[in-house]
């Protein structure tokens, strides 16, 4: 019985990430003064299945808007988004989201928090319990299943939130500055953990951040965005072998070249000012 379940999950894991296609995507917001602000302007993008795409840009460049659109939480003004050929107009079952804050439900145990999407999708919760515990082990939290979120540190809580996204076996995983609220050491560990979790599953990831270093370290491709209107200024392919090790990657000449290119864009746009 248990063996069968394992086989099932192995099948799920070998399934590749989703293909995402964004065409002439625009999003306009109406402000209180009734002005229109163009958050995204005519974006065209295609994500290869199983690729790790990072988006960097300053606050207000529309990167979170892009994520909300992909998550199906807000509607497009113009253009189309499709996942594996299906147009998105509402939250899609193939998509999982990790937000900046962990958003754990404090009245549920860690395990029940991870199983929340399974309950909502009305799947058989008992079948996923094993998988939930497996995910907890992968993020170094084995034995924490029956704890409550308030008993966990910030880093541990965000790990649980990542497990909650992974249990949905998302073909596309959206991550909205997931490590933004963590201290530097925890963040470094989480970056490594995320890489190894992703290497097992190889789903398509859209990782939104304002950290140039983590974008380059994690991604196959970095998109650099600038605000008003939100546009993609640079589409950078990161070619470094995986799994990437923290030290060797940070000593890699190529790594510094990529970081430099991104910083140059920000300096040219006046987002970073050299002194």
């Amino acid at each position: 019985m248990k063996q069968d379940q394992r086989v099932n999950f192995m099948n799920a894991i070998t399934q590749t990430g989703a293909a995402v296609s964004i065409a002439r995507l625009s999003k306009a917001y109406r402000t209180r003064e009734d002005d229109e602000v163009l958050a995204l302007d005519q974006i065209d993008l295609d994500f290869e299945p199983g690729s790790f795409v990072a988006v960097v840009g300053p606050s207000g460049c529309g990167k979170s808007t892009l994520l909300s659109l992909l998550a199906g939480l807000i509607g497009v003004t113009e253009g189309t988004i499709s996942i594996d050929g299906e147009a998105i107009s509402k939250p899609h079952p193939k998509i999982g989201v990790v937000f900046q804050s962990d958003l754990l439900l404090y009245w549920r145990t860690v395990l029940d928090n991870i199983l929340l999407p399974i309950e909502i999708k009305k799947l058989d919760v008992s079948r996923y319990r094993l998988r939930a515990e497996e995910l907890l082990t992968q993020v170094g939290l084995d034995g924490f299943g029956n704890k409550y979120p308030s008993e966990l540190s910030g880093g541990m809580r965000q790990r649980v939130a990542i497990c909650r996204a992974f249990i949905q076996e998302p073909g596309l995983l959206l991550m909205d500055e997931p490590f933004g609220a963590l201290d530097a050491l925890t963040r470094e560990q989480m970056i490594m953990d995320l890489q190894s979790m992703w290497l097992r599953v190889r789903n398509t990831v859209l990782f939104i951040t304002h950290g140039i270093d983590e974008a380059v370290f994690l991604a196959d491709r970095v998109l650099v965005m600038s605000p008003r209107p939100g546009r993609i200024d640079l589409d950078l392919k990161i070619e470094m072998p995986r799994p990437r090790q923290w030290n060797s990657a940070h000593e890699d000449k190529a790594y510094h070249g990529y970081v430099r290119q991104i910083r140059d864009i920000f300096e040219a746009k006046g987002i970073l000012v050299a002194h």
């Binding site: 199906g72 439900l105 009245w107 308030s150």
Partner: protein
């Protein structure tokens, strides 16, 4: 499906109890019993003060006299307590049954909120006591005006605390469950309601205390039984000791009802910082 979070929250409370018990045992002895000690000190002082000041028991009976009277008149007090208890609990239950759905309508419907909220607030400024004679006029001398008064006085905090509890939810939590494909029904039972429960129960606790006041005031105006009625009788007979005994009985009832609500809350809702 709706009850799973409630059941889970129940399990959570077991955990909370243990944590609280541990905390208490570490508290110093004096701190732990400070409220009891203060109460005892006041009662002892009262007991000593009355004979020293030479007050007659028509003015101020001693605590021992009051307690003695409660023992001898327990049957009378209990019979009248049943009446008042019935009125209080009925008024409170009506408040919950009307207050919570009203709060949900206010929360979910903007036009409804616009229409009903100002009226509710305006209504709240009316002293409910002033309505008591009118209620007697319309509803007679039975339990109906008391229950109505208990309801009128206690339903406002239930409405407000439920609305506030629902509105104070982190919007990102809604985005989270929406991204998982939750419909509004699931969003309500998985997130909105459990997150609002502490606030809702806060309202219930205020409401149950107010319901006691409502019922007793209703009995003051016109009644043939109940603790408020008994107190009026004692007053007209200059039986100050029985009067005090009734006051003590009313407050015991209030405290017990408060703890019943508190007990239900512990069974149902998990406090955010219980495990800290």
């Amino acid at each position: 499906m709706a009850s799973t979070d409630v059941v889970r929250a129940g399990r959570a409370t077991g955990n909370q109890g243990k944590v609280m018990a541990k905390k208490k045992s570490r508290e110093p002895w004096l701190e732990r019993y400070s409220a009891l000690l203060l109460t005892a000190a006041v009662i002892v002082a009262w007991q000593i003060f009355v004979p020293l000041a030479g007050l007659s028991k028509f003015v101020l009976p001693t605590p021992l006299e009051i307690a003695g009277r409660m023992v001898t008149e327990w049957r009378l007090l209990l019979q009248n307590s049943y009446v008042t208890l019935f009125e209080v609990v009925s008024g409170f239950v009506v408040s919950v049954l009307i207050g919570v759905p009203l709060a949900l309508s206010i929360f979910y419907s903007r036009p409804f909120e616009r229409a009903i909220y100002p009226i509710l607030v305006a209504f709240q400024t009316i002293p409910k006591v002033a309505l008591a004679p009118l209620l007697v006029l319309y509803l007679g001398y039975g339990w109906a005006p008391k229950i109505t008064l208990a309801f009128l006085i206690s339903f406002f905090p239930i409405v407000i605390s439920t609305v506030v509890g629902l509105q104070s939810l982190d919007k990102n939590l809604v985005s989270l469950v929406r991204s998982m494909g939750a419909n509004e029904w699931q969003t309500f039972f998985k997130v909105r309601l459990p997150a609002a429960l502490p606030s809702i129960f806060g309202g219930f606790k205020v409401a149950i205390s107010l319901a006691v006041i409502g019922a007793v005031i209703g009995e003051y105006v016109a009644a043939e039984r109940g603790l408020g009625y008994l107190q009026l009788q004692a007053n007209s007979l200059f039986d100050t000791t029985l009067n005090f005994a009734t006051v003590v009985t009313i407050s015991i009832m209030g405290v017990l009802l408060y703890f019943v609500v508190d007990f239900v809350e512990r069974k149902v809702a998990y406090k955010r910082d219980a495990a800290k």
